[in-house]
């Protein structure tokens, strides 16, 4: 069994934005159920001892927590490389200075579109885009490296050239162009978000060109959408293999979307250690390695390359979390993706909100 390399700490589900592709579960955790500062500090210490090197402080909006500075300091004290994944709309220079003093290493700032009106419609928050631009400036003035994270889909891909310009103009050294992944809220909004093949191909060409044009100045990471694929993504680098995630309420998850799989039970950090959850919990062991795999994954030469794809996607599309990810052309359910693409084209979103 490998030790995990990184921990995703989902500190809260609270967020001023309402993105229709939010990666949080449909059933959001309320503030009263969130882990305390001390509980997070324990998680970080245990994560470092287990072998984690990086922690991603995420949410919801992590800076919605009043103790975000203490939490960052605890992660830093545990020896973890600390990354803040933020929408940026709550960030000011004073908070930034405190975070730097607490040991923050890097900021990933999300942007919903390059066009302010589009960004505000997609994120569901008025004035958000200008605040994000200000946040980028604050991060750079504090001397921290900045990654811009642009989630792309049918309704903003036309602005990809401008998103790349935005990354350069805002001083990002790294840009993540991440096509939406379809779980939870994004699956609810799939008809409005799925890109066409032409959009995808144009985006891929643009990214390839921009990588050459901005070589040595801007690193571009590119996450492609499964729905046009013939091989599945190696989700999480294999279930229970490299990453783990802790939810706002303390559940220890093999990936942040794992709670979308009905019937799975997860250990809680309030009842157990992180090591015990990683090594011994049923949830982590169920899809670890290759023994659980059905045909056509079992014996496939790609079994240890793509790990059968994504368990959450297999469950979402087939109702069976142990099925081959339908993104694989060898899956008996691969036709579901083409059908979904055929139905796409809706204009309106169902926004993320507390139920």
């Amino acid at each position: 069994m490998n030790a995990p390399l990184a921990l995703l700490a989902e500190l809260t589900h609270r967020c001023p934005l309402h993105c229709p592709y939010c990666s949080n579960p449909m059933e959001l955790t309320r503030a009263s159920a969130e882990l305390t500062t001390a509980e997070w500090a324990r998680v970080f210490t245990e994560a470092a001892r287990l072998g984690c090197l990086q922690v991603h402080l995420s949410g919801g909006e992590p800076t919605a927590r009043r103790d975000i500075v203490e939490i960052t300091a605890a992660a830093h004290a545990a020896g973890l490389y600390t990354n803040l994944i933020t929408a940026g709309v709550l960030l000011d220079a004073a908070l930034m200075a405190s975070l730097v003093a607490a040991g923050l290493d890097h900021v990933q700032l999300s942007v919903q579109d390059a066009d302010p009106a589009g960004a505000e419609r997609i994120g569901g928050m008025k004035g958000a885009h200008a605040r994000k631009e200000a946040a980028a400036r604050i991060v750079r003035q504090a001397g921290l490296p900045l990654t811009l994270n642009a989630v792309v889909h049918r309704q903003n891909l036309q602005n990809l050239p401008l998103l790349i310009e935005t990354a350069l103009a805002w001083g990002a050294a790294r840009l993540e162009v991440a096509h939406v992944q379809y779980y939870g809220w994004a699956l609810e909004n799939r008809d409005a978000l799925l890109p066409t093949r032409e959009q995808l191909d144009a985006a891929t060409r643009l990214v390839d060109g921009a990588r050459i044009a901005h070589r040595g100045r801007l690193v571009i990471d590119y996450v492609v959408p499964d729905y046009h694929a013939t091989r599945p993504k190696p989700c999480m680098g294999g279930w229970g293999n490299r990453f783990l995630s802790v939810s706002p309420a303390g559940r220890v998850l093999p990936c942040h979307a794992a709670e979308s799989i009905a019937g799975m039970e997860f250990a809680n950090i309030r009842d157990t250690s992180l090591r015990d959850a990683w090594e011994n919990s049923e949830a982590f062991n169920r899809f670890r390695g290759t023994a659980w795999m059905p045909a056509p994954c079992q014996g496939c030469e790609n079994a240890e390359r793509d790990w059968g794809g994504c368990r959450c996607q297999a469950f979402a599309l087939t109702g069976d979390a142990a099925a081959t990810d339908p993104a694989c052309a060898l899956s008996p359910h691969h036709n579901l993706l083409a059908e979904a693409l055929g139905e796409a084209g809706a204009l309106t979103f169902r926004y993320r909100e507390f139920g």
Binding site: A3, L5, R49, L50, G51, L53, Q54, H56, Y81, N83, D105, H106, Q108, G143, L144, P145, T147, A173, R174, R215, G216, V219
Partner: protein, 85 residues
């Protein structure tokens, strides 16, 4: 020109796995032995020439050979965003 780590990038001792890793924003990679020798000499003050001199002396190798390898490695790490020249 001096060589330095890009903001947010540093060498980190991975105690659990007894190895050195290059920690970078949302990424990490494990340098091979040669890359590690080079990265250990990146202190924000030395330039490529100084790094090449030190390695040529350390390994008693022809400077031209070392220079070609080191320059290629530095260029690659700049493209990856790990170093700034």
């Amino acid at each position: 020109m001096t060589i330095r780590f890009a903001p947010g990038v540093r060498l980190h001792h991975d105690i659990a796995r007894e190895r050195w890793v290059v920690m970078a924003p949302e990424r990490m990679f494990v340098p091979d032995e040669t890359a590690l020798e080079v990265l250990r000499l990146v202190d924000g003050a030395r330039d490529a020439e100084a790094i090449i001199d030190l390695l040529a002396a350390k390994f008693a190798a022809p400077r031209a050979v070392i220079a070609t390898d080191v320059q290629a490695m530095l260029d690659d790490l700049v493209v990856k965003g790990a170093l700034r020249a």
